[in-house]
């Protein structure tokens, strides 16, 4: 009964995450927008798990573990970049540009 609204909220939150990644230039805020997108996907899994069985909740468990690993490694990269460049603006981070 809440399936439709929950999926709609999930879609809106995911789009806000996408817009945030495109809107901001601060690397840490881009990371936070990625977390927002992961959470929107989690909400879709939980909403569908109510109708299709509890396996969806297990997937959310794994998504959380992956998000924790991603946050740890990502923030370590952010720290290393800040030490190297003294900025987090992604316009100035172009080490891999040819």
């Amino acid at each position: 009964m809440l399936l439709g609204p929950a999926l709609a909220v999930s879609a809106i939150l995911f789009s806000l995450g996408v817009a945030g990644v495109l809107l901001r230039r601060n690397a840490i805020i881009i990371f936070m927008c990625i977390e927002l997108m992961l959470n929107a996907a989690n909400l879709a899994f939980i909403a569908l798990a109510q109708r299709l069985g509890p396996d969806g909740q297990v997937i959310v468990f794994f998504v959380m573990a992956v998000a924790a690993a991603e946050a740890a490694v990502g923030l370590a990269i952010v720290l290393a970049i800040y030490r190297h460049k003294q900025t987090l603006d992604i316009q100035n981070i172009n080490l891999l540009r040819g």
Binding site: F62, A72, A80
Partner: protein
């Protein structure tokens, strides 16, 4: 009652997400994101996922966001920095692509689920009452998904080693 609470949490989550991507200060953004994560935990409870809601508060709103705030404080980004928003062209592109993704997902959401794969309404809450909140998840986690669960521990170990190596001053 459940409907009303769902919409309250949903409005808080979406409003806080909008504020999260528009606030200038990274600390304010992080705190609004915590608000979103908390309201999502509330929605999870309404959707019969109490254990995941507890994990959401502990792991996401607790551990991960503390990590984010810790890095923001460590890099001293809390001060009034010039805005990091893109210019008008970038904003229009972000708005346009955001709306496009929303419309695509909306169309996807509208497509109906096949009735044959759906459980009868209220099955999950009934199973939860019989087996307990953790029992529902742990049964699937330690039987069907045992190998992915063990691989997750290796992933976390790799993440720990990677974070230490990347954040070290000198190798």
């Amino acid at each position: 009652m459940i409907q009303v609470m769902f919409w309250v949490f949903a409005v808080i989550a979406i409003g806080a997400a909008v504020l999260c991507i528009t606030r200038r200060s990274p600390v304010a953004s992080a705190l609004w994101l915590v608000t979103t994560l908390f309201s999502l935990a509330g929605i999870f409870v309404l959707l019969d996922a109490q254990f995941i809601a507890a994990l959401q508060v502990m792991v996401y709103a607790g551990a991960i966001m503390v990590l984010f705030l810790f890095v923001i404080m460590l890099l001293n980004l809390g001060r009034g920095t010039p805005t990091d928003m893109r210019g008008w062209v970038g904003r229009l592109i972000a708005l346009g692509l955001g709306v496009a993704v929303a419309v695509e997902l909306w169309v996807l959401v509208r497509s109906p689920l096949a009735v044959s794969i759906q459980l009868p309404a209220g099955t999950l809450s009934q199973v939860t009452q019989e087996r307990g909140v953790v029992g529902v998840i742990s049964d699937a986690l330690f039987r069907t998904y045992l190998v992915p669960f063990e691989i997750t521990s290796i992933l976390l170990l790799a993440a720990i080693v990677g974070a230490v190596v990347l954040a070290k001053r000198r190798l």
